[in-house]
Symmetry: C2
Subunit: 232 residues, 2 copies
């Protein structure tokens, strides 16, 4: 009984994720599913990213997922970017149905994607390195946000999210000297455990590495934009 | 259908947790369920704790829960403490049935609890601040291990684990100066969100705060020990 129920739930989620993909394509939206542990720095990364990408109207929209509070949504709204805060009331991950509802609300609330050049939809999942990886939201990319303070062994211990990642943003690299660690302590494990991922060591605080990460993001817009190649 | 299934699973888990409590009582075991985000420092805290508590034979046993790898179990075994590594193969939390099996194995593998003075069973849950809080293992105490690098807002954003905690160990306080934060930035939120918890700011690395945490642990042994008051 349990296995059948889970399969049905997954199948229903996958069908809704496919619908989300169609909706994204219709609007020229590139959707990124950001997942990581609580406190990995997802919201800080988003803030630093939006400060670099968002001055163009319609370029960015954000869906914030949290069990409770509207704190992250408020942080994003302060950057003048359209944002919807989803509260899961205990649930440990977002699912495709929540994203469909969130996007509908976001479009009502002022997100005006630009199909000609492509627009970003950043989805910040619930802070959890396990469960979010099991649910397809229809996003084009899984981005794991992984802070150096978590230690170098996490890709081996929480394999699924890393296996699915197109990008791993290794955050808080400014703290490495205080941890007795270097970037190289993380990179070889990531090569093995996140074989499809480009790795971006960054500090949202100091700005280190943010240019390379934002350049990658802009490059990903090309397939969803109607015009050949988005502006830099 | 879904709600009924969840209730049944929860009821089955709760019944097994009650059985675990009986088993713990029979052996004079004080069981502690350590939960926290990936990289919060649970294993490092355990290592530093065992170094202070374990010289007495039969004093400590450990059950390590991880989705994958035996890395944490090996770290504990290196301290000469009986340990069983549970791999959940994707599951995001431990449950009471896993603990029953783990304890059985641990007793076979050389854990010899001492009912007269009481013994500690440390259970390190899967790194996840959400799902483990929903499953009773039969442990006497929920201990949330929460690192300062996760930022001060986590008790509000992940409320259930903190609400259930008898103790919150605030780890990595040696990094506070590099974060521009102080202990006071965490304590007022913890007072509200973890109303039943004693808070222990510690650095497993430098040893700061470890004496107070270990003193609290020894005090908790009294109710499970046959003799009046365990030795210090």
């Amino acid at each position: 009984m349990k296995a059948i129920l889970v399969r049905n739930l997954r199948a229903a989620n996958d069908a809704l994720a496919a619908t989300n993909r169609d909706t994204f394509a219709r609007h020229g939206i590139l959707a990124l599913n950001l997942m990581g542990s609580p406190g990995a720095g997802k919201t800080s990364l988003l803030e630093a990213t939006l400060a670099r990408l968002s001055p163009i109207p319609g370029r960015c929209g954000v869906i914030e997922g949290d069990i409770a509070t509207t704190r992250d949504g408020e942080r994003i709204a302060a950057h003048g970017v359209p944002v919807v805060q989803l509260n899961t009331d205990g649930a440990c991950h977002l699912d495709a149905s929540m994203i469909a509802q969130g996007l509908e609300q976001l479009l009502r609330d002022g997100f005006r994607p630009v199909p000609q050049t492509g627009s970003f939809l950043f989805i910040e999942n619930v802070g959890n390195l396990v469960c979010p990886a099991e649910f397809d939201l229809g996003a084009h990319h899984t981005v794991v946000v992984y802070s150096v303070t978590e230690g170098p062994d996490k890709p081996e211990k929480y394999p699924l999210a890393f296996q699915k990642a197109s990008a791993v943003v290794l955050t808080k690299v400014d703290l490495l000297p205080h941890l007795g660690l270097g970037q190289e302590d993380f990179l070889s494990t990531l090569t093995t455990c996140a074989p499809h991922a480009t790795v971006f060591p960054v500090s949202a605080w100091s700005g280190t590495g943010m240019d390379a990460w934002c350049r990658w993001l802009r490059q990903q817009l090309a397939p969803v934009a109607a015009w050949p190649g988005p502006e830099a």
